[in-house]
């Protein structure tokens, strides 16, 4: 069983990503993803009822205690030439507040400490860190959060034995879509150079991966417009799915596959 934690700032699209994974896992050409338990099946329902209905998911409750976080269990199976390949994943999705508290670099409150302890437990094989900002100023904020996280990893002897998948989410956005093929060079080096440098200096190369994913995707192979509409909401603009019929997420599985350590 691969225990994976998903962290990242608010509105990075963490739950939307998992919901899209539950919904689209069957369609992938190389793998199938099956939600196993009630929690992961609920993700599927969220995709069917809310995302496909042109609405956005509610933010993950920042008030919930660490023992209240749902366990999302997925079975990933290879298809075609990868038929013997099979992994069980247990994914937990944390509220964005946790990451933002890391960025503040203050002493952590008790609840956040519980989360961090939970995130850095010995049986956790990797963290999927979902980032979404590429604009000026975001790099410094992310760097601060990682500096704090790295210290905490070190204090718990997890600096050399925890995989980190650094993921740029919502890569359907026109400004970053062309960089999705080589995200390390064309997204992270370009837009988040200080964060990338810090991570490369402190995390062993074999435990560090850079990825780009998109839960909404673009309208088509020959139509690279984002399959999303931005609407005014809390914290500025928020996106919903534009065309359900043409919903095709991008690269959802790669970071999880890599984190599973196969």
């Amino acid at each position: 069983m691969g225990n994976i934690r998903v962290i990242g700032p608010r509105e990075a699209g963490k739950t939307t990503y998992l919901s899209a994974l539950a919904s689209f896992g069957k369609k992938d050409k190389q793998f199938s993803v099956t939600p196993i338990n009630d929690d992961s099946k609920k993700l599927l329902e969220l995709a069917e009822n809310i995302l496909k209905g042109g609405e956005r998911l509610e933010p993950t409750d920042a008030q919930q205690r660490v023992d209240e976080i749902p366990d999302y269990l997925f079975l990933i199976k290879g298809k075609k030439g990868l038929k013997n390949y099979k992994i069980d994943l247990n994914v937990k999705d944390y509220s964005g507040e946790i990451f933002e508290k890391l960025a503040q670099n203050n002493e952590l409150d008790e609840k956040t400490q519980d989360y961090i302890n939970h995130c850095l437990m010995k049986d956790v094989s990797g963290c999927l860190v979902m980032l979404t900002g590429w604009e000026k100023g975001e790099d410094r904020k992310y760097k601060k959060a990682f500096e704090h996280l790295i210290k905490l990893m070190d204090s718990r002897q997890r600096l050399k034995n925890l995989r980190l998948a650094i993921v740029m989410s919502k890569c359907e956005r026109g400004e970053i879509w062309p960089g999705r093929i080589e995200p390390k060079t064309d997204l992270f080096s370009l837009h988040l150079p200080e964060t990338k440098e810090l991570l490369e200096e402190t995390i062993p190369a074999k435990n560090l991966g850079f990825f780009a994913v998109s839960a909404f995707g673009v309208l088509g192979k020959n139509d690279p417009r984002p399959n999303r509409i931005d609407e005014v909401g809390r914290n500025g603009r928020q996106a919903v799915l534009r065309d359900t019929e043409r919903w095709q997420p991008y690269n959802l599985l790669e970071p999880l596959y890599w984190l599973s350590g196969v």
Partner: protein
Amino acid sequence: MGIAYIGDRFVGKTHLALELANPESNYVKVTYPAYNILKSELYSQEKEETISTNEITKIRQLDLQVQLPSGKKNLTLDWIDSSGENWRESWQQQNPQKWQIFLDTLKQSEGILLILSPYREIITVGNPEEFITHQQWCNRFERWGQFFQAQCPKLRHLLLCLNKADLFCDTQKEAKLLGYSPNGSELNWQQRNDHVFKRYFTPIKQQIRELNKNTEINSVRCFITTIKERRLLELPWLYLGTYLGY
């Protein structure tokens, strides 16, 4: 889970809830209480109108079954029906304790359906003089906006229901466009909201924008409702059904 029906007096809150329980339903079925029992409590056969809600807050259990794209979903809700009386400032001043209890109930609700009456200028059927003017309507909503910002900043869903749609639009035509089907509808929730917002709610667009900006409300969504068109009547509940119970 609490869902509150609120609104000024005589906007049709109780009738709207009562008709939801009517067994001639499409995709929202009230499985408890039975329509007949509810009707005997809420409707005066003699006067042929709903009985005014006497208690300031009446909480009833409501069991619903909504049919969603993923299948049927059962929800047990606390339906919080409120009297329109308590929105009068004089009443609030004379009954501070009751007002506080009401506010506390509201703050714990996951969703609020604010039932609004139409304004005079859009009325095409009946006597427009019975309704407040456009300006009064905007002023009244301004106060609603301030109320939600001050009292319910952590509310999850606020549904604005412009009621008595049969008095201001072609409900058949609107229901055909806005109508819901779990097997795929012409419009999605976003498009429905856009349509209703642009057609009926633009006078208060600034206030709605402020609500989105200054509160943690996940969604402020606009609906038109009437007891005379089931497809429109069910929409707010189908919307809530997609979010509740997870």
